[in-house]
Symmetry: C2
Subunit: 196 residues, 2 copies
Amino acid sequence: MEEEARQRLLRVALKLFVERGYAATTVREIVAGAGVTKPALYYHFKNKEGLYLEIMNGITTAFEQQVAELGNSQGTIRERLIHFLGGLLDGAREQIDAVRLAYSIFFGPPQGAPFVDFERIFDRILEIVEALLKEGMACGQLPACDSWLKAWVIVGTYNTIMEEQLCRKTPRIGKEALIEIIILQLETPGSTERKA
Amino acid sequence: MEEEARQRLLRVALKLFVERGYAATTVREIVAGAGVTKPALYYHFKNKEGLYLEIMNGITTAFEQQVAELGNSQGTIRERLIHFLGGLLDGAREQIDAVRLAYSIFFGPPQGAPFVDFERIFDRILEIVEALLKEGMACGQLPACDSWLKAWVIVGTYNTIMEEQLCRKTPRIGKEALIEIIILQLETPGSTERKA
């Protein structure tokens, strides 16, 4: 019962934050939409900031799970990379409205929302993919390539495919093509002349 | 003198739209910031919507220029593609605050701003790059590849590199690496098994 009210608050807040903006949404509207009292919101989330942070927590937790899974994963570099980025894309699709809210805060005026380090997620994806590429070359599974450049290509393409899920009701590209792209990129060598 | 006031209005409006949001910015604040009277704003732009559309017009005009240049361009497919995407990246950097405003409206709550078809720009880049890849294969300049998939890789990477310019004071990747990536992608073949 309490958990149900909590979930309803999260759902209604996310919907209002996305549709009308974080700043423009009031606690009064959230509790009215969720059919609960203000003290119920304060009890579960303390305030509007707490609700926002809990929604963003859903994104970062899902991300950390994928990173942890990757750490424990067996298989070839190719399999692990596909599992990691494929899992991230699935995760983004599962909470697409929370990702939408994150984008609106990241690219929009900050609206007074508490700081969440969204860039750090992108940076870690980039670091992880580059490390996997280096590992794959070191153990002879992948042809020599400029791992920094190739990491940007793979993560850059992943990022744009993820944004396609965000922007289109019927995305023109998804996980299947992402996997195909990763496989092709891993098969092809690339310049290794980059300094450092 | 009049042109100077017009430019000042555009500059101040863009700054306020980015920092505080389109909806939260008033005509009163814009004219105060620009040191002009309200009638001056009405004379040049009719209203706040007109100012916004004029700023967005700067983006679409620069884009159309790149497309027109591409239509007239000589050289190999590789040279034309590098010139096109490199030019788009330069253009985005030159008006990075206008691009920032476009992103905030596209990914954020619409804020009552008049509709601008930002998706169409992305879609046309994708179409143009795919058409160039097909032309390059047809005339034997490029190895056989799945042009649809490769277009997503090239434009997807371009898009993320452009976002890097948007997000970072000191971008970690720019035009030089973009060109290197395009060259590598054009040199490497790829699956041609996609249906249709």
